[in-house]
């Protein structure tokens, strides 16, 4: 009894101290630090291991059999990404779709963003709502919708590359609009008004004032469109014409459980390399385009664009 009474306040204060130790906004949050870095490690480690096995000299996905830089990329005469037609075709298909998506969705989205952020009417606010819907619609719903509409209504479109490309543009469009609109809000209208005061025609103030100011956002959009298009699995699968329309994610999906060879890892790793290179180029260009603005601000803008996407 007395022991219990003596130990319980002490236990409480210990628990209290432990909680304070965790929650103190000004103290050293060792626990949180640990959780954060453990999470970062766990989130990245599997991908690094997968990339590592794309350099496996043997055929195993789990046992390391020595290092081979090229075997699964182009060294193996039958199974490497370069020599296996299905893998090579998937790579080309993914890049084709991403390229088409970037070329169509970005200008369409930029125009839509400018139009919607300045056009004040009931129709505009309805379109604003419509524009957000693809972002919250689960991909399977969009996949089913596309599949049914080309089967029953748009019968002149057949499942295949063209249908896949249309689907990709549809789900990418909203991302472009959100990014560009964010930038439009932060630019404001004063620069264009100044240009107009100085005698610029509407076309000139759009071409020489607004578009250059929008360039960083356009660049971010291109980057994001590339990334979400090359990452897409569901829409590509529902609109696929069969093996000929396989993209990289479809190939990975198909072979993940069916006795895969490290060539699949090499294919997936290639996608990571592409994205990293594209990201690097985009980052450099972005720094160049926003060189007048402070460096930490331009990084913030890029991160802000990403965060805006998720909201």
């Amino acid at each position: 009894m007395s022991a219990g009474a003596a130990s319980s306040p002490r236990a409480r204060s210990l628990a209290r101290r432990a909680l304070d130790w965790i929650a103190n906004p000004w103290g050293k949050p060792r626990f949180l630090l640990l959780v954060t870095w453990a999470y970062v490690g766990v989130s990245i480690l599997p991908v690094l291991v997968a990339i590592q096995f794309s350099f496996n000299a043997g055929r195993s996905m789990t046992a390391w059999q020595g290092f081979s830089l090229t075997r699964w990329y182009f060294g193996d005469p039958v199974y490497s990404v370069w020599h296996d037609p299905s893998l090579r075709h998937a790579l080309i298909q993914s890049l084709k779709l991403a390229g088409f998506d970037m070329v169509i969705a970005t200008p369409l989205g930029v125009m839509l963003a400018i139009g919607l952020s300045r056009w004040r009417s009931v129709a505009a606010s309805m379109s604003n709502f419509l524009m957000l819907l693809p972002m919250v619609t689960p991909e399977i719903v969009m996949g089913v919708a596309f599949y049914l509409v080309i089967l029953h209504l748009y019968t002149f479109i057949h499942p295949g590359t063209f249908a896949q490309a249309l689907g990709h543009v549809t789900f990418s469009l909203s991302y472009v609009v959100v990014i560009v609109r964010g930038r439009l809000v932060s630019i404001g209208r004063q620069y264009e008004e100044a240009a107009a005061d100085l005698g610029a025609t509407p076309w000139e103030s759009m071409r020489y004032v607004l578009l250059p100011l929008l360039l960083p956002a356009i660049l971010s959009s291109l980057m994001i469109v590339f990334a979400i298009s090359i990452d897409d699995f569901v829409i590509s699968q529902w609109l696929s014409c069969g093996a000929g329309c396989d993209t990289i994610p479809i190939r990975i999906y198909g072979s993940a459980r069916a006795g895969p060879l490290p060539a699949v890892n090499a294919l997936a790793a290639l996608m990571v390399y592409f994205t990293v290179i594209a990201l690097g180029i985009a980052y450099l260009l972005f720094r160049f385009l926003t060189r007048g603005e402070r460096a930490d601000r331009s990084t913030r803008l890029l991160v802000g664009d990403m965060a805006a996407l998720e909201m």
Partner: protein, 296 residues
């Protein structure tokens, strides 16, 4: 300075695109779900006009969600998996976002970059990595063997619900952390200082200031990952591939790919959409209420 017609003209192409390639396709789901079935070929005959809608088959599908009917088990399982994955994601994601937002000083830029990194790696690439890790001879079982935690390493990849939930968490946590981080970053630090000045302990300051202020952020981030999780079918297929772990998305997938009744699949898709629209509406009402309370 700009002519008035310019803005609608600029927006027109995009709006037309969304109407033709988003709204109309969605209407096609409704048409097929409420349409008939060809008596000979058994393929669906969509009803385009609301006058011809026939609700019988859709209502039959809806009845399947009643307890002890054919979709009840799948729906319950989907809800369980999503709830478990969401809870785990929040338990991992909130501390991480909180640390990065509040405590990481010099490492903040690096950590943000590392948190965003998974966005740039294909989802299926990450699932493939996960499968390799949990393969019978993979790293996880090797660690289990070396540390002698089990003599009989579990079979992770054949209908194991734990793997599906873990894979969902692994797949979707990054999408939860980034908006959460943005929400936590928006909290005015001076409010915390005020709470401390008024005598709140750090823990009290967290519970009474930070947590309530991040409530809408938590809700928003949860909705962002819950919506795609409810429609997921590829994650269970990749890490389990067994009917024992099939989710609502798998059910829909089966009805279209190889299954006999696309119209039932369309009804299921419609029901899923309505359910998720309900969730989203609840979220929007909650945010609006929080805004009103904030203004008061």
């Amino acid at each position: 300075m700009y002519p008035k017609w310019l803005w609608p003209a600029l927006a027109a192409a995009g709006i037309l695109w969304l109407v033709l390639l988003f709204l109309v396709p969605f209407y096609a789901i409704i048409g097929v779900a409420f349409g008939g079935v060809d008596p000979i070929f058994q393929n669906p005959v969509p009803a385009w006009s609301p006058w011809h809608w026939d609700f019988a088959s859709a209502i039959d599908t809806l009845k399947g969600f009643l307890p002890q009917h054919e979709y009840w088990r799948v729906f319950l399982r989907t809800a369980e998996y999503v709830a478990a994955a969401l809870t785990a994601s929040l338990l991992i994601g909130y501390p991480v976002a909180y640390y990065v937002s509040r405590h990481a000083r010099r490492t903040k830029a690096l950590l943000v970059a590392l948190l965003v990194l998974p966005f740039w790696v294909s989802y299926l690439m990450r699932m493939l990595a996960w499968v390799n890790l949990f393969a019978p001879s993979g790293l996880v079982n090797e660690v289990l063997a070396v540390t002698r935690l089990t003599t009989q390493p579990p079979d992770w990849l054949n209908g194991n619900p734990v793997s599906v939930i873990l894979a969902l968490v692994y797949g979707y946590v990054p999408y939860l952390i980034v908006p959460l981080l943005a929400a936590l970053d928006r909290i005015d630090q001076s409010l915390l200082e005020a709470a401390r000045d008024l005598g709140a302990s750090p823990w009290q300051a967290f519970v009474h200031v930070t947590l309530p202020l991040s409530k809408t952020g938590i809700l928003g981030a949860s909705v962002i990952i819950a919506l795609p999780m409810f429609g997921d079918y590829y994650t269970p297929n990749v890490v389990s591939g067994s009917p024992l772990t099939s989710m609502l998305g798998n059910q829909i997938d089966i009805f279209f790919h190889g299954g006999p009744q696309p119209s039932v699949g369309a009804s299921l898709t419609l029901i899923l959409t309505l359910f998720l629209a309900g969730l989203t509406a609840y979220y929007m009402v909650a945010v609006a209420r929080a805004h009103r309370e904030g203004e008061r």
